[in-house]
Symmetry: C2
Subunit: 205 residues, 2 copies
């Protein structure tokens, strides 16, 4: 059975929702970042990066949100979570998720994880001050150029949707008002109403 | 015909090599970052992010290295650049490329692109000082946990290989000695001998 390792507040939410939407049988295992569970030897055997998500499958262990999301879409094709037979459409899905992981998530991470990239307290404060602008700019670009609506890729719900929902869920912490982005705001509201999302959020609470 | 936009020194090298390895018919268009070509209105119509790579296809425009690489593997299946019929193996390829784009490339970017995330000169210097350690740590993790050898995924050459070659090519600038990572060092040497790589590097020179 699939086993997903997650931590509350992390981007593992996207993979968790995708598993639920796919109708997968899986076990979700919560790590406590406050207790540094992700740095404990037993977890580092699962994911040497010391991060979440990690997904244990019968074939081996997978990490990285975009990879896990595409895997879930491919092994549960009936759920229709990605345009698997159209390379261009699939690449657009991947491009969106790649932007979330390499740009939007990274912009967000400079608020609490600035110590990954600098050491001085003044530098970390400088980074924090820039987070609202950077995160806001990322979302403005997604709103104007990437999110078609009603779902990210248009009429079809895909693996982009739980990932956008996850990263958009960090906007209040980043002091960015989601109402600036009407399509993304609407998306967030409709995502929160989906049974799969409600179930996962209840498990995380 | 496919049209790839690139800039010398950028991560577009991975997509360029992949197109060449795939035997694709394509046109490569060079942007001059020193002249801020990527911020000019005509290019922002191609890629509103103002970044490279961007790949124009008959179906539309793609961005983001991991998405372009997987697209090239899918539309040129005979080139065998990814394990397309094995979702777990394909996800491992994607996980590796996702790590490169969201962690290794981001660590590198804090050397010259620190102004994306902070404003003060002292913060940018602080970030620069940390780049050798962060980039070195990323490569140490890839060496010990991810790169199988002789190619990233083992015996099969995949879309992970030009991407690793690209990011590893930045190690001298990041003051990290590639010889610390024997598998990656060997990989880099063998990559440089491939006809496709030689051809692309000649075009970039």
């Amino acid at each position: 059975m699939l086993k997903l390792f997650y931590a509350v507040g992390s981007c593992a939410l996207a993979s968790h929702i995708a598993l639920e939407e796919a109708g997968a049988e899986y076990q979700a295992v919560r790590l406590d970042f406050a207790a540094a569970d992700q740095r404990k030897p037993e977890y580092l055997k699962v994911n040497p990066k010391g991060r979440v998500p990690a997904l244990i499958t019968d074939s081996g262990i997978l990490t990285e949100t975009p990879a896990i999301l595409a895997y879930v879409a491919q092994v549960f094709p009936k759920a229709g979570l990605a345009p698997l037979t159209d390379p261009f459409a699939f690449a657009r899905v991947q491009a969106f998720n790649s932007y979330l992981c390499s740009t939007a998530h990274v912009n967000h991470a400079h608020f609490t994880r600035g110590s990954r990239w600098a050491d001085e307290a003044a530098s970390l404060e400088d980074m924090k001050r820039k987070v609202p602008k950077n995160v806001g700019d990322s979302f403005a670009l997604m709103e104007s150029e990437m999110v078609e609506g009603p779902w990210v890729m248009g009429n079809a719900y895909t693996i982009c949707d739980p990932y956008l929902f996850t990263v958009a869920g960090w906007l209040p912490r980043d002091s960015v008002d989601i109402a600036r982005f009407p399509k993304i705001h609407d998306h967030h509201t409709r995502m929160a109403e989906r049974p799969a999302v409600k179930k996962v959020l209840a498990a995380w609470s």
